[in-house]
């Protein structure tokens, strides 16, 4: 397929998913979804398989799927993110991308099995161990996992985990069924109402190692990068929604006899935000394309670490922009944005969660500084 044809396919996918999500009555739907057990709508999740076949998206054709890649997954992730739809689906798809990539290299029966299942029926997968500072987990000599990992999105309902054990060059990725013996999950109420988190404790849990021996942490680094780019993608989409809401508010609301949006100080602040969103949009698109092609021949491996630095850059930039937009939106909406009934606080909390998950801004810039020092 040429790039243009691919773009058209993705555009169609985007509008299909958008229509699917909008049909559930938008923000009101989100409020009721947040309140359901485990903080999401299980029926919507099921319908994503039954009506849209989203589960088959990253699954290889040989295993009954569509064999699409990270760019298409990112398209779906963005539509969920744009609406703050509380759902384990984005995490599931991103996690499945890594499994599919691993399966493509052969010798990964566990991965094939889970993908095959995922092409057919609704499933929840989750990545654990990608947020530095939220616990740790180690693989024992026999490959069994022990430790505790926090901040796992929708971890309480996962049918399977990709677990990063160890750190740095020694980090490895393992597949663990959700109901494996020794796994204990504790669902946590989250600051961000739209993304329930879980702590997962591993007590000598038998696991299937996915990382090839001595891969120097490469597979773990790739999983982390995919998760970061995915957070970046949903952040820039949500930031855009939030900016649009603000512009609309400023256009409609009058104070001192004029539309708020005609006050130049506010206009200029919005212009700065628009520029930040514009830049974050470009960074995310670049990172998604880069991540999808590992690396795409048309992109530059700037610091010689594959998609790593691009992912860190895009995630820090997009999540910080989202936070800036949400914070300014709250300021510019005045008191009404402070009410629980208004959606703005959901964006604010989501932005903070996007910043803190999978490496905070300061942590990512530290990583980039280390790479820049060596480059």
């Amino acid at each position: 397929m040429s790039d243009d044809v691919e773009d058209e396919v993705r555009e169609e996918m985007r509008s299909t998913v958008a229509a699917f999500l909008d049909a559930r009555s938008g923000a009101q739907g989100r409020r009721s979804e947040m309140a359901q057990p485990h903080g999401f709508d299980r029926a919507l999740h099921d319908r994503a398989w039954d009506e849209l076949g989203l589960g088959a998206l990253p699954v290889p054709e040989s295993l009954g799927g569509l064999g699409l890649g990270f760019r298409e997954v990112a398209t779906v992730v963005e539509e969920f993110g744009r609406r703050l739809t509380p759902s384990p689906l984005p995490g599931t798809l991103v996690t499945a991308v890594l499994v599919a990539e691993r399966v493509a290299r052969g010798g990964c029966a566990a991965g094939e099995e889970v993908l095959e299942r995922m092409a057919r029926q609704p499933l929840v997968l989750a990545a654990a161990g990608v947020t530095p500072g939220a616990g740790e987990c180690l693989a024992g000599a026999g490959g069994a996992l022990s430790g505790r990992l926090g901040a796992v999105p929708f971890g309480a309902v996962a049918d399977g985990f990709l677990v990063v054990a160890g750190t740095g060059d020694a980090a490895s990725v393992h597949f663990v069924p959700g109901d494996a013996p020794g796994v204990e999950r504790t669902e946590r109420a989250a600051l961000d109402h739209t993304r329930r988190l879980a702590d997962i404790a591993f007590a000598d849990v038998p696991a299937t190692p996915l990382s090839p021996p001595d891969d120097g942490g490469a597979l773990a680094a790739r999983l982390r990068a995919l998760v970061r780019v995915s957070l970046a993608a949903e952040s820039v989409a949500a930031a855009r929604t939030c900016l649009d809401m603000t512009v609309e508010h400023l256009t409609l609301r009058r104070q001192f006899g004029r539309p708020l949006g005609s006050f130049q100080a506010l206009k200029h602040r919005c212009a700065d935000l628009a520029l930040a969103v514009h830049g974050a949009r470009a960074a995310v698109d670049y990172a998604v394309r880069f991540a999808a092609s590992a690396p795409h021949p048309g992109e530059v491996d700037e610091l010689g670490d594959g998609v790593g630095s691009v992912a860190a850059l895009a995630k820090s930039m997009a999540a910080d922009t989202f936070m800036d937009v949400a914070a300014e939106a709250l300021q510019l909406h005045g008191g009404v944005g402070f009410t629980y009934e208004h959606d703005l606080h959901l964006y604010l909390k989501r932005a903070k969660s996007a910043q803190l998950l999978a490496g905070s801004g300061p942590a990512l810039r530290r990583e980039l500084a280390d790479r820049l020092a060596d480059a």
Binding site: G133, A189, L191, Q255, G335, Y340, K352, S353, P362, R366
Partner: protein, 393 residues
Amino acid sequence: MTMGGETEVPEAGEEFRLRVRGWLAEQLGGEFSDVVDTGGPGHEDEALERRRAWERRLGSEGWIGLGWPTEHGGGGASLARQVVFHEEYAAAGGPGRLMHMSEQLLGPTLLAHGSDDQRRRFLPGILAGEDLWCQGYSEPGAGSDLASVRTRAVREGEEYVLTGQKVWTSLAHLADWIFVLARTDPDSTRHAGLSYLLVPLDQPGVEIRPIRQLTGTSEFNEVFFDGARTAAANRVGEEGDGWRVAMSTLGFERGVATLGQQIGFRREFDAALRLARANGAWADAELRNRLVRAWVRLRVMRYTALASLRSSGGGASGLEASLSKLQWAEWHRELGELAVDVAGTEALTVAPPYELTDEQTLFLFSRADTIYGGSNEVQRNIIAERLLGLPRG
């Protein structure tokens, strides 16, 4: 680290400071130990009955209206002593003040503009820590445009009849009275034609509904007037003069309390610093830098407040109030963000059902600081036009 307020406002006298400190220690270490650190932002509804008792205790000991003239039952204390009281109160972890609006806003308004009769009638209840008042200025959709009042009061004989809606009235569900800006001239717009009315809340024409906030808690209310009544004698100042009456004391809210407020800020900053040291965030260069900058700016705020105290000899001027408000509101909002960033992944979760940590509460609530009581934008307009003399837009 100590804030060491004890020596920075020497004019108040060391003896006075020790007396305040001793009394607070006795009360808050004893009978009222259960209210220590309660009722802060985001926790306004904590321990309400006990905090009402505490207000009565403050009143009976003469700590309310400390700076009011003695002829009106006040303590006649110097500005320095008022500051010392606020500082010691904050340092001792005194609970959030239920009488805040009554003492800082209504009291000064009555002192400045009330009739003798109104003062005799209303001040004693405030001084005794008995009568709770709430503020009725803000209206839905008005935002920073305080003058766009739509609540109407129609004169009927010796009464006014009110129709309309006020919003962001804290403590309305507890208060006995509300002071209201209402439009008494139906043909007027903006600042003209408003009157300042004292309205009893316990009557059929008043409905109070709590507002649920982004924290999930409800400290504020909407107040609906639908045929609510108050005596014409409860109007403060002349009919149509309400804007001037209300504005003349709006700065009082931020005068002497500033230095005490900063003691509270310092406690919040110290908590963030402690957390950073404990959880390793201090080792991160970026977070460390932000903490240092926050400390610098907190000190600068203190120097600013001390200088203002030194130069004014009285309450802060309107302009100084604007500078101070913009300064602390921005600082506090940034501290809120810094505090959750220091907490890091711990800040991702809450206790069920939705109980926020101190850092999370600070993060969310401090965002109101730059909006209420004159938004940052309003303060910048005031500073640009009144301090710098730049032309109106």
